[in-house]
Symmetry: C2
DNA sequence: TTACGGGCACAACTAATGGTTGTGGCTCGC
DNA sequence: GCGAGCCACAACCATTAGTTGTGCCCGTAA
């Protein structure tokens, strides 16, 4: 199926004749006729009945028409997603399973008219900031671990997410039936978070968290995927892991896993939206406004955040 | 943008190399390379970075990938909509603004996984039945005005819609503030329903309705579109028109029009789903079940239906 | 009835495209 | 340093998509 032929089909359906459609596409009537004939051959179905005064859609043509329009719309969107200059808002997230990605999905649902592309650069903060500076992405979510004065002058940041944590355990774990749990109660429990890059901001965060409360957090070791981790947790009375409260890391239901909020204090993973000051993309402002409106009010709650000493 | 190139792009993104993607598509590595190069030229953007061990997506490639997948999906659907043998369920409705079309939309929303195409044959009952017999459409909605024994043997019908009526009037009309209205109260009010084909089942219905209650219903005369009709109604203290209760003929709000239910008795426009007995399309059964579940219970209500004498 | 005009399809030709094979260069790993 | 694996470029060829020229059909008006 050829997109140009589809475009010709739609033009002809709108015009009611090949002549005019051809003119609109700056080709000859014969070329339009050929395109349609080719499309009809591709689909092995007749799309138009030829009359003396032009053409009329067949039933098949009628059924095909909305699909054809949709196809052209999607093609335009695909094109717009990369067209330099006026492409869709492109936001980098660390992982598609954590809070930023979830919030972006909510944003997209709230504003379906905004073209949004979510990408994962799999870069560290510095690399992501470089991508923002270069303009390959419009914004990124990261914990900003360095003082503001060390950031490039063109970069702006805003703290938009305070992600709280939940302990994920199997039904046999001693904490399985707790309503909430404090960091202090996690001492001597083994917390397992495999698959984390040792140099990453994540690893640094959990190392500092472990140090602050005297916890045992294994961030080292290969990951064999979430399914494997979930299966291990489900069977174990000792293993537990920490997940972001809004992460969709896991579907605990299928393994009867429990998500237990951690509080008193709440360990907060702080994330900022990072963008370039001179970025005039209209959707960027709307994203910032949306994220601001979604920010939880944690005043009056005892929280813990790291100091990012390395 | 060429769909084959897009397909190659997706295959290469999945495989991580051109070689394997090419093999999957039964072309040479060089052809795949050319296709991608062509696509990159079309979009004037680089989609892959070439490495010694294959290829990796650029940020633009990452952003483009989901759009590319969607494009192929939509293309498949478009193809399936007309592919003989296993096409989408195709249902004919008289008009996209009356109850059958509204119900089909509800059905589609309730079962988004079912491929459904709504077409308008603009044929009379006999023509629509012929189309059903020929298999160009799977089903049609019509008032069945002939006795069952006159229908072709392969045709099945089921009464699925009892459409009630509402009087549509402007704010200056004497009935504008009525909660409900009876047919008897409409005597001597002028009811205007322009744009109706004199030979159609609709015209026959309203002629019989008028005769039964002594009403004045003008079904003759050209229609200048709904906007024009609405504007006339809005300004007039005499004109009124009848619309189906579930039709989306008009957006009365914009003209401060009122929709007043007609009852005691309720004039019912009965519509049947018409299909071919040997049609094994799986979605057809589900549509019938859905329509059955949506049918209003009118027992205990005084109704009026025509006898379709011509 | 006939003549005309508008519109689509077929034929012939040409330019461009998309495919193939052959080959060279790059990078990684041994 | 060398071979293996993979991509890009070149040359060539077959097919396609476009153009112009022309014929046919059908509805309308003389």
């Amino acid at each position: 199926m050829d997109l140009e032929a589809v475009r010709t089909f739609v033009a002809a359906a709108d015009a009611g004749q090949f002549q005019e459609a051809a003119a609109a596409l700056s080709i000859t009537q014969q070329a339009a006729s050929k395109r349609i004939a080719g499309l009809e051959k591709d689909l092995s179905v007749r799309l138009f009945t030829r009359t003396a005064r032009g053409v009329a859609l067949t039933v098949d043509g009628q059924a095909f028409l909305p699909h054809a329009r949709e196809l052209l719309r999607v093609a335009d969107r695909a094109d717009a997603s990369v067209r330099p200059g006026r492409r869709a808002l492109r936001v980098d997230v660390h992982s598609r399973r954590v809070a930023p990605a979830v919030l972006l999905e909510d944003f997209y649902r709230a504003h379906p008219e905004i073209d949004l592309d979510v990408v994962t650069l799999t870069a560290d903060v510095a690399g992501a900031i470089a991508a923002v500076e270069a303009g390959t992405v419009d914004a990124t979510f990261h914990a900003v671990t360095m003082p503001a004065r060390d950031l490039p002058a063109t970069i702006r940041t805003a703290r938009v997410i305070d992600e709280t944590h939940e302990l994920l355990v199997g039904p046999a774990h001693p904490l399985a039936n707790a309503r909430t749990v404090t960091p202090a109660r996690l001492v001597r429990h083994r917390i397992w978070m495999p698959g984390m890059d040792p140099g990453s901001e994540w690893a640094a965060y959990y190392a500092e968290l472990a140090a602050a409360f005297g916890l045992t957090i294994d961030v080292i070791g290969p990951s064999f995927g979430n399914e494997s981790l979930m299966a291990e947790l489900a069977d174990s009375a000792e293993l537990a892991t920490l997940v972001g409260a809004r992460s969709r890391y896991l579907w605990p239901d299928s393994y009867d896993l429990r998500r237990i909020p951690v509080r008193d204090p709440m360990p907060i993973y702080p994330m900022s939206l990072i963008w370039r000051a001179d970025n005039r993309h209209p959707a960027l402002g709307r994203l910032r406004a949306y994220l601001g409106s979604r920010r939880a009010d944690l005043s009056g709650t005892e929280v813990w955040t790291p100091r990012w000493r390395r």
